[in-house]
């Protein structure tokens, strides 16, 4: 079993949430706001890509668990 990959979705999603909050709590500086909005669009694209994944992979924990399977 490989090590878990970088949680791109969770990261992207939470960054998106932070950005949204920024827009709602800060006195938006226009230039900065534009930059952040662009970033938000990028993040949304990353998230959307992840959302289009439909497959879940099922594997059995065999190696570490075979002592039980043998019984």
């Amino acid at each position: 079993m490989p090590a878990k990959k970088i949680p791109t979705f969770a990261k992207a999603f939470s960054e998106l949430e932070e950005l949204t909050q920024w827009f709602e709590t800060q006195d938006v500086d226009l230039d900065e706001g534009l930059k952040k909005f662009e970033r938000g669009l990028e993040l949304a694209a990353v998230c959307k890509k992840k959302l289009s994944e439909v497959e879940n992979k099922v594997e059995k924990l065999k190696d570490k668990f075979n002592d039980l399977q043998d019984e």
Binding site: F9, L30, L34, F37, L51, E55, V58
Partner: protein, 397 residues
């Protein structure tokens, strides 16, 4: 004589003999069923109770240790007991050395369940404060359930419906029957042993509904403790809504069914997509709002500038008008003054020459110009001669 043809032995040897004889009973193959009466525990270690026959007038004293028997016992419980018969030489009393006790029948199971539940609750296994939060977007989920059960299919189906890209690590176990408890405990241990990077974000222990007897593994004290001790947050989803198990109470998150467990562990992609869209809209709105405000600022700045300019111009025009009026007046007065001065100066000049003429001089003019030299005149020239009083026209001869 009594000893004729008989062997004489001591009391101790006699008891040994009885115990040896009873050792021939195939105790491993026997389960004695009866009702518990007079149950008491001394020093937290020794359990004594009588096992009463349910029909006949018969009972057996039983002795057990809390080390071996973990099920809380209570008078009136119907149990099945595995143990070895023994006569204690000191008291000459027969009793059964209990190896294992298990409640039988729904009533007894229910009672045992309530007792264990109370005990675990007292120990703090159900405490809300210790419940851990699940990550919203898990990458790896450990699934502990039977492959054959509908629970497995339901869980995977709902999981796939809702979310993708998750790695499900399944450890197949029996969820009922004699191996269930051991296998479930081993599954938790196996997940716990995984290196941190390989550990799932959460574990899901699930099975379909069933009778209290079917659910015994989920009401087992050791399984409950395994859930409690798991270093990974645990979701337990057993049966249909009305079913409850001890594992439910210990779990970090309790799901009502295997399907509900899937709903608990992963978000719905449609919902998340809506959230993302909303986020973008909100950001867009924030930006729009800002733009609007900036525009308003610019507009208001323009307005005040225009206002300033307009009022400035107006004032300037007033000043210019006033100035030009004043200037006009000034110019008129200048003209008047000049006229006045001219008149005055002409008057002054005329007064000056009159004084001389009065004394008898005359002034000769030709074409309006004073003639100062007689040589400038020639015969036939028309001249004007001005006297102190009056003048005449003359011709030079």
């Amino acid at each position: 004589m009594l000893e004729e043809g008989r062997k004489s032995i001591s009391v101790g040897d006699y008891i040994d003999l009885i115990n040896d004889a009873m050792a021939l009973i195939p105790s491993e193959e026997i389960v004695v069923v009866g009702e518990i009466v007079g149950c008491r525990i001394s020093q937290g270690k020794w359990i004594n109770f009588d096992l009463k026959d349910e029909e006949r007038e018969a009972k057996v004293s039983c002795f057990a240790t809390t080390f071996k028997v973990k099920t809380p016992l209570e008078d009136g419980m119907r149990v099945q007991v595995v143990g070895y018969p023994k006569v204690y030489e000191r008291f000459g009393k027969f009793s059964m050395n209990v190896e294992a006790v298990e409640p039988v029948g729904e009533g007894a199971l229910a009672k045992a369940y309530m007792l264990l539940k109370a005990q675990l609750e007292k120990e703090g296994l159900f405490a809300v404060e210790r419940k851990r939060l699940l990550p919203r977007f898990p990458q790896r989920i450990g699934l502990i359930t039977s492959t054959e059960a509908a629970a497995y299919g339901d869980f995977i189906r709902i999981l796939n419906n809702r979310w993708g890209g998750v790695e499900v690590v399944h450890t197949p176990v029996h969820v009922q029957g004699q191996h269930a408890v051991r296998e479930i405990i081993a599954a938790f241990a196996a997940f716990d042993r995984l290196p941190k990077a390989e550990r799932p974000d959460m574990l899901v222990l699930t099975r379909g509904g069933g009778s209290l007897e079917d659910l015994h593994a989920f009401n087992d004290e050791q399984v409950a403790r395994a859930v409690f001790q798991s270093s990974i947050p645990v979701v337990v989803g057993v049966g249909h809504e009305r079913d409850e198990s001890l594992c439910d109470f210990v779990a970090d998150v309790r799901a009502s069914t295997p399907s509900n467990a899937a709903e608990v562990v992963v978000p719905d992609r449609r919902e998340v997509w809506r959230e993302i869209s909303t986020s973008l809209t909100r950001m867009n709105d924030g930006l729009d709002h800002k733009l609007d405000r900036q525009n308003q600022k610019v507009e208001s700045a323009m307005r005040s500038l225009r206002h300033f300019m307009e009022t400035g111009m107006h004032e300037m025009r007033l000043v210019i008008d006033q100035f030009s009026h004043a200037f006009d007046r000034f110019r008129l007065s200048l003209v008047a003054t000049r006229k006045h001065i001219d008149t005055l100066s002409r008057l002054l000049a005329s007064y000056d020459i009159k004084n001389i003429l009065e004394r008898g001089f005359s002034v000769v003019r030709r074409s309006g110009k004073i003639v100062r030299d007689a040589k400038k005149l020639a015969p036939g020239n028309d001249i004007t001669v001005q006297f102190g009083r009056g003048e005449i026209q003359a011709e030079v001869k």
